[in-house]
């Protein structure tokens, strides 16, 4: 199947339902009708449908190098600046559909897989078979428009060697057996967003050190179908507020479930193994594949769409409350404007500064992208705080859609209107602001953005140590002083 439509997306997920647990019960039946997943799947279904819309399909797909059939454009390895622009345009279209609330829109993983596969050559030396596995897996996903999720980290108790000493039994994920069919994995992984509603899962944890072993059992990377036997997804609480898009404009559409994935001695076939045992390789491949650079181009589109949506929301709130001349409000809105202009400019700079890398990819300049990755986790919570500060008590005292259908609606109409908005419109805007800044959906979005590419130590180090060209500036100071 080349680019799929929404119906195909849903049908495949429903058919291949993995083992999913939610609040102590296993999810059965059509997951697309389950209240925790329905809204998201409907949104994502509409996104897949866009791939086949007459007006959009030229922008959303390109011809498969294998079959000539249209495949998703976010799978395209960019080889020219035009490719980069095409990819950006495509990703912006999807981002403006979900307004940045999907952290794992399909183009995220498509792009990530493309990054890894483009650099598969790096694995050649270690094991040509691994390189080949990776390239074939990429082709498989591209040709079948696979919906993919991924996990990179483990629960805290499994993560730190220094931590493990506290426990009798080690719990770090590892290869417990290698046999002719593949490798057997035992362990748990975090935070598989959309894991329950994807076809496949890519597992590539941060390697843990291992003393004395020739082959480090804590090091591996592979991909498997989500319904692989002995794989289990455990959901957090659903943050869908309800089905009403009036009451819950965001969570009714964009609530991506996060899961804990447990591999309970699951067998991963050899042809799906990309890395196994070589700790240094596992570290370096992350860097060499320029995963963070490629993925950041997708995230940049998401973050810009989200910031625009926040700015639109905030300006609507300001207008409805007649606050345009309040200096402290103006100050706060300009913070959001500066954030938006900054992100857009950094996106432009990355694309304009792109250059071919050793894998033949037109690689965007990573400096503006890494800077943006360190910047957004700071500014997003501030923008949400601004919504709280501007919305104030209007974010607490919000009636329900049903109140407008009851006998008390007349009084709501009278007392709750805004400037240019009738009461129901004004309340609807408040509910949006509330979902963004007060609800559990909004709270999870804030935490998610804070830690999107790791905690601030990790993100800062990535920028600091990956910042090339700094010698110029030190030299300039030295020249000045001498």
């Amino acid at each position: 199947m080349p680019v799929k439509n929404g119906g195909q997306y849903i049908e495949r997920i429903n058919k291949n339902l993995p083992e999913i647990w939610l609040a102590g019960e296993q999810v059965k039946g059509e997951i697309s009708e389950h209240k925790a997943f329905k809204g998201l799947m409907t949104t994502q279904s509409a996104m897949y449908d866009m791939q086949l819309e007459d007006k959009l399909k030229a922008k959303m797909s390109y011809a498969s190098p294998l079959t000539g059939d249209p495949v998703g454009l976010s799978f395209l390895q960019p080889k020219t600046k035009k490719d980069l622009a095409a990819r950006r345009e495509m990703m912006q279209i999807w981002a403006n559909t979900h307004h940045g609330f999907l952290g794992r829109a399909p183009d995220y993983m498509n792009t990530s897989l493309m990054a890894f596969a483009s650099a598969a050559g790096y694995l050649e030396e270690e094991n040509p078979q691994y390189a080949s596995n990776l390239r074939q897996y990429y082709a498989y996903c591209r040709e079948n428009d696979i919906t993919l999720s991924h996990v990179f980290i483990q629960p805290k108790a499994s993560r730190w060697p220094s931590f493990m000493k506290f426990f009798e039994e080690p719990s770090a994920a590892r290869v417990i057996e290698k046999n002719k069919d593949g490798i057997v994995i035992r362990g748990a992984f975090l935070l598989d967003t959309q894991g329950a509603t994807s076809d496949e899962i890519l597992v590539y944890p941060t390697p843990l050190p291992c003393e004395g072993d020739e082959e480090n059992p804590f090091v591996f990377a592979f991909a498997v179908p989500s319904n692989l036997p002995k794989v289990r997804f455990i959901c957090r609480e659903s943050f869908v507020g309800g089905e009403s898009t009036f009451n819950y404009p965001l969570s009714s559409r964009f609530e991506e479930m996060d899961t804990l994935v447990i591999f309970d001695d699951a067998l991963v076939p050899w042809d799906r193994v990309f890395i196994c045992g070589n700790e240094e390789l596992a570290y370096r491949f992350f860097d060499e594949s320029r995963f963070f650079t490629h993925a950041s181009t997708q995230i940049m589109c998401k973050n810009i769409a989200k910031t625009e949506f926040l700015l639109g929301t905030i300006e609507s709130m300001v207008e409805a409350a007649g606050l345009e001349r309040h200096e402290h409000v103006v100050e706060k809105v300009t913070e959001v404007i500066i954030a938006l202009e900054t992100l857009k400019a950094l996106q432009l700079a990355a694309e304009k500064g792109a250059a071919l890398d050793r894998w033949g990819s037109m690689l965007p300049n990573r400096k503006p992208l890494l800077a943006a990755n360190a910047y957004f986790p700071k500014i997003y919570p501030r923008m949400i705080e601004i919504i709280q500060l501007i919305g104030s008590s209007g974010l607490i005292m919000i009636p329900d859609e049903k109140d407008f259908d009851s006998e008390i609606h007349g009084q709501l109409d009278r007392y709750l209107k805004g400037i240019g908005l009738d009461a129901k419109e004004n309340v609807q805007l408040s509910r949006l602001a509330w979902e963004l800044s007060v609800s559990a959906f909004g709270g999870r979005q804030t935490v998610y953005e804070r830690f999107f590419f790791g905690n601030s130590l990790i993100v800062n180090n990535r920028l600091y140590h990956g910042y090339q060209g700094r010698e110029t500036f030190k030299q300039r100071v030295q020249d000045f002083l001498s």
Copy 2:
């Protein structure tokens, strides 16, 4: 009835149920059994019971000057520093029961009413009857342990004269008629926390200006039973997550409903009117009664209890995750420690600097209290942010209590433990952190604290313009320069 117990509290609220609307439906039956109110009423019921506990009753009550029976200590007008200390001790006991999550624990309104009634003399000149009404109302509440709520502000659309020009029909609350029985009120008021579960409501809105009128119809203060005819309470969405105290340790106990209160031409009898028509008086009485000073002593107890609870939570998180030596974690915890030490010191300074005022009250020094009122709305959101920053992805991927009763519990036990905590305890701690920093309950707490005594402009002005003794410092600079 002197100090009441929890059963009496519940019985009276159930019996006198006012008109309450929630999500388009009127609340009927026993409100104490309604899932949106049950947890709060249970908590508050336990608090009322404490008034009669053998070990506590000496601290929780004092002898009524009318009957000698024990009445709630938070009704006591402090006339000595010992009184202040007794009041503090009593309020701290309740605060450590609700850990600061109740913004409208009964002692808040008891204290507020005491402040107003103590200064009733100020109303004498305007109208001796008003002064008498206020004193009698205070005695009535004290002798009957009335559970009281209040409203001070109006919806935005009703609030600003400059705003009104946008609308055809004015919606500001006002006296539409005065007759022999009383005054007839039309208008809506915000944010009546616990309004649905109180016996009575005190209404004292910020006066709006009115051109040319001798008697300003926008100016009034009164108190009425919550079930007064033509008074209606409209609830926001309930943020009770569920009944499980494991999953929802806070919202299952402390979710105070906020309401919009509508007076639809309701008649307020004359003996319940405290102010009517005199704009300047309405303004000055707020100040003259030292409402903010007295109320702040109660809020100080609440805020200290809350900060201690947050510090305990954060330190528990740090310990469970083994982060005691991470410098950025230490830095964040010290911020919380500094906040706690600051609040406790300001409380002490206020009490130590108390002096008798013209109403015979031993009035705490208001400078440290006003400073604390400006400080807490800034530091509370930061403490919640610190929980997010320390909790990170552990705040997102949290299973449900029921998962531990299902067949998957073994794997949770294995992968989700913390240092010194088994998996279930660790998850329980995470759920607490999640309720504080991610859930709608937590989000509403943050917004509530931000705006507790008004927005930052108002709070800053109150401190700035109420700051006495500044001349000393200017003089010192002048002396230095000359």
Copy 3:
């Protein structure tokens, strides 16, 4: 004279010396040898010399449309994107000579005058003579490479009408007489940076309102020679630390004197008057000329050069102290990196988004520029704070160059070295950091950057109210909700 060299610059300033007061004495003789001005004039002289350097002159000048002779490129009205790029390249060359420490490098005023003159058409309707005066003045400055300063604001006591009521005698600058020769001006203006070392001065104060007058005497714009009779410059204290470039690497070269300019009934000839009496025009012409947009392109070059210089300094400090692995240091350095990447990206975005305006100018997109203007005053002080935080006590205990020539130098050599630096080099780096973050020169730079384009209220309002395209985002939210 087309582009002048450094010698000509100095000769002209010395020859036409205006009336300058410094610490109660009038400056006499060759100002270029005066210790308060020598360093700056030497620096600027070198900059003018660059205009005639073989390697640079093609980049620094263009052919005069009048004579074909080379004139300064910063006078060029940009009509194409290539012009914009050429202007940027030229300005970056100068900026990397003074490393951003000159707020009034010559290209600043050249650009400003170009902006006004390009929009002279706007004055036509009011008075064609004014338009012509402005164009001719621009041509005069361009053809003679005039060194120009400007004043836009007045001392506080003269500024606010509400302020004036406190004083018996009004002090706002105004036209006190109009006669056949010109207009007579009485008043004082602030902060004429480099006023004492410029050929001419452009005066264009923010208009003050005036009740009832047909012609507002507080409204005017003109340019005159700095040595016009009855014009007087009063200097602040000089922040030149001394002549040693070791001890004072910055102030010995870049200390721009600021002056208070007093017009004591000075006569401005008619052919130098550009605006007179029309308050609204004076306001709108600022906006219509896109002064802020054009000037911002020059400031952007300055600010990028300065940020690069700070980054180079900070990284040198980190290296010399061996702090590359300290997480709190990495965090701070990444803040500076993010600032630099942000500024460079915003510069790129402005240029890339340029479009022709009604005056035929290729006008950069002003959104990224206004955003940068609001951003830099916040980040500059933070970068200086970072120098303090990284430098710590090493910024206090710094010996003098002369100590290295004394008998104690052996011990300095032993105890004050850094990693990769001998003691003298290390101390020299510390002196640079000290001048940036502790000295009066550095303090003045910080205050100057904070208020470069006005205080934050003004800068925020300029961005907020000048932000075009916001409707798109509001519409997107509205579409989403409906």
Copy 4:
């Protein structure tokens, strides 16, 4: 000599002049007449004179336990709360003389030495002679009113073992010889504030580790006369702006010189040695002596006086510029008010919570003090920033005192006045604000406060790990959850 007067202070310093270097030259003659030291010594002389003023002497001194003569009250070991109050009152008197600008007013070292000597018992076990030396040294200083300075840290190049590997020759300070007369010290120490104008110096560096040595040569504590042979003080640049108290109200009076002290194989006699060789002891004695707690009581007085002085300055600026109604100004002033109220409350809490320690000292509660020590380095730079933000361009364009004596004074009088201030007064206020927030004197104050008790990591750790009673809060959370 019991308490000395100012003349005696100056005479002794002049007579015993140590070896001091400033800008490559050795200071000779009467140091009290040297322009870099004169202002400070005059100020401190006046402070010593206060000890003998009739009105003050009862508050400034107490009867020596040895002779009954009056000795400085800051030498008093507090044994009761009354002692604490007396000490506070005395220190506040001096602090309000220097307005907090002296980091090393005499009471600082008097208090420090008292802390160490009171805990001398801790040294008994190691070496009773050391304990006796310390006690006798304390008695000597008290009875002779010795002006003392101290050094605790070394230059960076000497400080870190990991740093040393970069250098051929080790430069860490150490005992290079022990002989019958004493110990011979080689090394350099930082930041000996007032070292050049003190009688004696206490040296107690942070111990460096030393592998394999039984006696660690990097560990020692001792005190010697400042003019001990082979001890040398190297000054930084003087930040005295000039003698005019109009132009330089602060630096002409309060500029404390900092020095680098070099021990070039200087012999310390045995009776002045307090610790030698025992690394662990040297670490623990800092803690056991409660040095930070006792010293903090003095610093608290200093910081409160300084904050009051800043508040007075800021309010004077606000008044002179008519900014009392500007909301962003009000916000900033309230930040300063909150800081002041916080510091005063923490001081009160520390004193009120005092308890006897094992050395018989009435030890203030250290929690509020350690919190204040972590708080002040954050808020001081913010207060200085607030001065910049309120002062704006008025901090740059300030004339000189001499301008008012020149022929141009009439125009200054006209244009530079403020509300309630004539021009000269207004300019004088501006010069004060400039010295605080722009000058090198002000810059050094800011850096000094940032690092007063060490960098933020150190200060935070001291608070975090020294915070007792935290178990209560964790337990409360645990009880709540179970």
